[in-house]
């Protein structure tokens, strides 16, 4: 019997660093972990097979990773079969495995359908900093002629594009947490940086037998892009929705912290 742990979070939300941490702790994340390519700039610790699968399902539905509206996907039989093959190989070779891919936020229910017992670690970051980081990256890539100009331009030509992306992905995560509270742990990037013992908490909650690794080994505290000025928004309604989603995420991570406090008596 295998256990599965999926690391799910929006782009630029700390999932790469979390994946690095858990990879060092012994979580198998894939047979071929991608390096960052211009066409996949955030590709750290992403399993090539998994990313390709997600990309193909998105392409089937005439979408890219830059998704700013809810997705109700068509999933063909070929894609289901591919998912099952991916699962079968990993189940047969690893007692604990998982993957990290921000695209997975949109496909959590597909994975859950095939892996009813899979656990999910949700990592989130404030919309202001995620979207700022995204915008920075895409503007520099656009000027340097790297990657897809089409995608870069969307961040500047479509009002509130990054914010909508953040909402779509994080609302999908909230929906998953709501449907499967026993199989979800939610942490914020700030929590981990401040020392939340995520590996210990995962082991405690789900008996995953990960090796406890110091957070400093995976998280570089000096790298932190934060928006210093207020976030521009063209339609205030999106701001309201973002605030609502943020507070629901904070509520979930608050529950994670409370659960930890109950486990660790304060002396």
């Amino acid at each position: 019997m295998s256990d599965q742990l999926i690391i799910a979070g929006f782009h630029r939300s700390g999932t790469s660093a979390t994946a690095r941490l858990l990879h060092r702790a012994g979580l198998f994340l894939g047979y071929e972990l991608l390096e960052a390519l211009p066409s996949n700039p955030y590709g750290h610790f992403e399993d090539r097979e998994i990313v390709n699968l997600h990309t193909r399902i998105l392409a089937d539905n005439d979408r890219t990773w830059a998704l700013d509206e809810p997705l109700l996907p068509v999933v063909g039989q070929q894609r289901w079969s591919l998912m099952q093959r991916i699962i079968d190989r990993r189940n047969s070779e690893h007692s604990l495995w998982g993957f990290k891919d921000p695209r997975a936020c949109l496909f959590m229910m597909l994975w859950k359908h095939l892996l009813p017992d899979a656990k999910v670690l949700i990592v989130y970051r404030h919309f202001s900093n995620s979207t700022y980081s995204l915008g920075q990256r895409h503007s520099s890539d656009m000027f340097l002629g790297r990657g897809s100009a089409h995608v870069h331009r969307r961040f500047w030509e479509e009002p509130d594009f990054a914010l909508k992306m953040w909402l779509v992905h994080n609302n999908a995560l909230l929906a998953f947490a709501r449907a499967f509270p026993q199989d979800t742990m939610t942490v914020s990037l700030d929590m981990i940086r401040d020392g939340f013992p995520v590996v210990w908490a995962l082991n405690r909650r789900w008996n995953l037998n990960l090796v406890d690794v110091p957070i400093a080994e995976a998280f570089d505290q000096s790298i932190s892009v934060r928006r210093v000025r207020r976030q521009p928004v063209s339609d205030k309604e999106w701001g309201e929705r973002a605030r609502d989603t943020w507070s629901r995420l904070e509520e979930l991570s608050g529950q994670t912290e409370m659960a930890l406090r109950k486990e660790v008596p304060v002396v």
């Binding site: 005439d62 830059a66 063909g76 070929q78 897809s148 100009a149």
Partner: protein, 144 residues
């Protein structure tokens, strides 16, 4: 045709909603058909354009890496390699000046060239060496 054969939509909301409905149906039909290539002359979808641009970028990256590797001097003696370098590395901003239709043709050419290059590099004794590199295998997986 009589005047009764025409109508002028005056309700913007209805137009927008109708467009959304029909676009949604077309997207579904494309997904159901397994993502068949676009019919000649039809507008290129956003996802296809993104894919083409990524293919061009990855092709340039691959050409640069070969050029800068120990294989570079040997590669430069190959006529096909010189053609690709001339087309994609020496005139990087050429595509920016093209019309949308020309640019689409150019990018589709880049995708074809990338696929051809990956196939050729993946063959023979050199192919073994290339396939050992993770990034090469990534590109093969994505485009072949």
């Amino acid at each position: 045709m009589s005047e009764n054969d025409f109508y002028t939509p005056t309700d913007l909301d209805r137009l927008r909603m109708e467009n959304e409905l029909l676009a949604f149906e077309v997207r579904f039909l494309k997904a159901r058909s397994g993502g068949q290539p676009e019919v000649a002359g039809s507008p290129v979808s956003l996802s296809r354009m993104t894919h083409l641009e990524e293919a061009e970028t990855d092709l340039k990256l691959l050409l640069r890496r070969i050029q800068n590797s120990p294989l570079g001097p040997v590669a430069r003696t190959n006529k096909n390699f010189r053609t690709l370098s001339e087309r994609y590395l020496r005139q990087p901003d050429r595509a920016l000046a093209m019309s949308p239709a020309q640019r689409t043709v150019y990018l589709e050419g880049a995708e074809k060239d990338l696929k051809l290059l990956l196939r050729r590099l993946g063959r023979g004794p050199l192919g073994v060496a290339f396939k050992r590199r993770k990034s090469f295998r990534t590109l093969q997986e994505r485009y072949l």
